[in-house]
Symmetry: C2
Subunit: 183 residues, 2 copies
DNA sequence: TCCAATCTATCTAACGGTAGGTAGTTAACG
DNA sequence: CGTTAACTACCTACCGTTAGATAGATTGGA
């Protein structure tokens, strides 16, 4: 799905706004202003807000998993988890923003169904990646334990971002992530 | 601060709406419809939306800490943490809703300052309670470690609610909470 | 005790602004 | 000529907020 440059600009702006205040924090008018077109032109690229919202989450998830790479070709389970944590850290510290699917997941009940479904996909694909990575440890664990471990990691990192941002202290994220690694 | 019955009804519906979709998910008009008055009457009780939002978060936090009780008079550190986890579980399973401050914390950057400050207070008061409880364990730990442990617990529970709701499976919360207890 | 003043809680009506969305047109390009 | 990507101009619905009025209860003083 190759997209025009303007369409990607629109997704960039929408993603940033959504990662600050959720689905209701971006609008066609504000996006239009930011990318210097009229709001009707934004509708040209993304017919409805549902479409735009779903596209934003889809692209975010694709990029996230792309950055993670192939779970089968990681150096070690430990280093892969460290990289995984690093990706959340980048989202928080480098971008200075919340994880899109953390904020979308929190408000999932009020989301248009196709947007909520994309948020769900983020978590399912992350779980799958983590389970694949964790299953490469030399200690053999039941698959259900690996899944719970994966869920725990995701939950802790999403929560750590929320707490760190609420208290306006990125070191809080690092402290929590550090404890998480040493388990 | 004793409030009229109608004011409490307003806070009830605002809280529910906010716990489904965040700060932008409730409006004076919708609240008015739900409590069977006109929207201008809602403004009589809470002059601005900032005021209403702050009052909702404040009441939520007060009730939460009230339910936790005095951290000095708990049976044991372990049972107190179990009770703490149970409170999140109630919010998720009994109410069928997100933690108000989990969702508000995620969108804190887009919140009116006085609402964001109340969300921050939720976390600070929770940390204080947890540190007080954890410091009663017979193993002596540095205070900083206790704080990190408190942050980890809060983050994991908030994240667990998000993941469980996104995947529409409350047992996910229990699995994560169970792992958290056994650390 | 009666009356006037005040308070509580609500109403109707409207304000300016923004939301998502649409119909029809225009300009540039291959 | 058809496609792409923009435009103008508009619509309906909703947003938070305010002004002004009103009915009923409460209260304080003559």
């Amino acid at each position: 799905m190759k997209r025009s440059e303007k369409a990607n600009e629109i997704l960039d702006v929408a993603e940033k706004m959504a990662r600050q205040g959720g689905y209701n924090n971006f609008s066609f008018r504000e996006i239009a202003k930011a990318v210097d077109v009229k709001s009707s032109s934004v509708h040209y690229h993304f017919p409805t807000k549902d479409d735009l919202g779903a596209a934003v989450v889809r692209r975010y998830t694709d990029r996230f998993l792309d950055a993670l790479g192939d779970p089968e070709s990681v150096e070690s389970s430990e280093s892969a988890i460290a990289d995984y944590i690093g990706l959340y850290r980048n989202a928080l510290v480098d971008d200075g923003l919340m994880c899109l699917c953390g904020i979308m997941g929190a408000e999932v009940e009020a989301l248009p169904p196709i947007v909520g479904a994309e948020a769900r996909q983020f978590f399912e694909r992350n779980i799958k990646w983590l389970v694949a990575v964790l299953s490469q440890t030399n200690v053999s664990n039941p698959a259900s334990d690996l899944r719970v471990r994966a869920l725990h990691i995701i939950a802790t990192l999403e929560g750590a971002m929320i707490v760190a941002r609420s208290l306006d202290d990125h070191e809080i994220f690092d402290s929590i992530a550090n404890e998480l690694s040493s388990l």
